[in-house]
Symmetry: C2
């Protein structure tokens, strides 16, 4: 039923839920967050009304504000939980990868999984709904993103010292951020190319 990646993802999620860092996806709040990610991604934050969201989970629009103080807080929660979860996934993946090349490939696979897999919609929100977030929320999310990005830079720098890549790791990471996040607009997992092949192609962008 599940492949190894999905078992791993499930395990990481459970441990985060237990630690209270992530909302249980089966709870009312969790379902709201999932639906919100879906709607925000496909219609955009502004075009999504609280009535849309309420209708999607089958409650009245006012009831949403029992779970969240404001619409903005919903967006922030979607982003926060997504970045926390995916940072944990990356950390876990690095624990099972050895050698600079393999570790960079692990990060690429991880980020592609984040974008293509179950959290894909939430990742899209994180990348493309930036402007809709309030100033306070943005500052907070930026801090979380810095942790995430630091993991990337560490591994790319290690690959650089091993002579695996030419060019500035900072610039390469940024090129890669754009290239990978953009895959959401064109790559179909049902197509002729597998996600693993996609990851290999992406690795060739930075490693010769």
């Amino acid at each position: 039923m599940w492949n190894l990646d999905e078992q791993q993802a499930q395990r990481v999620m459970l441990s985060l839920v237990e630690r209270g860092e992530l909302t249980d996806p089966q709870s009312a709040r969790g379902k709201l967050l999932q639906c919100a990610a879906h709607l925000f991604r496909h219609k955009g934050y502004e075009r999504t009304t609280v009535r849309d969201l309420a209708g999607a989970v089958g409650i009245q629009s006012g009831s949403i504000f029992h779970h969240f103080k404001s619409k903005d807080e919903i967006l922030r929660a979607v982003m926060e939980e997504t970045i926390l979860y995916n940072t944990a996934l990356m950390r876990d993946a690095l624990n099972h990868a050895q050698g600079a090349r393999e570790r960079v490939l692990a990060l690429i696979r991880c980020e592609l999984q984040s974008i293509m897999g179950g959290t894909g919609e939430a990742m899209g929100v994180l990348v493309y709904e930036w402007r809709s977030l309030s100033d306070e929320g943005r500052g907070y999310i930026l801090k979380l993103r810095d942790v995430y990005e630091q993991m990337w830079l560490t591994e790319l720098a290690a690959a650089k010292t091993e002579g695996l890549l030419q060019g500035d790791p900072f610039v390469l990471r940024r090129f890669l951020t754009g290239a990978l996040s953009w895959t959401t607009t064109w790559f179909k997992q049902e197509g002729s190319m597998s996600l693993d092949e996609l990851a290999q192609s992406a690795l060739l962008l930075v490693i010769k």
Copy 2:
């Protein structure tokens, strides 16, 4: 005052304005389009109200509808004119570039200029405000984009037959689309890296 690229850009624009394919940027409609691009890019289409736009050009909100039938038409016009202009710029640049490697580099420089230069805000709108466009508008803009993308694929395929790049030109173009468009979020022209150096780095992503 102006460098060669800007003279070139000016010439291409004038010829398009004369042919009636582009709105004269000095006309009332042209100024509205410029302001709209700016506002749509920085606040997002939905967050930008017709009152914002009217205030930015110094007229009343109702007066906008003398120039455009609807707010949606403004978005479509921004996108249409941007893609027409940049397609013309690319065609012009290719006329002055010889050899597969140089031609691909010319396209990269062109796209980066589009993103970083005078039409940068409008390009950002084209890339990131997709969802806000009505269905009819989207179909029309997609056709224009196909012409633009075909030029890319032609040049990348030529580079492939010369053995300059490994991997599928389609996939590489898509990686490149993401990588280049993302530069708008981090690259500063005042910084230590020039736009030409950035283009060279980007070329190294696809050509070994």
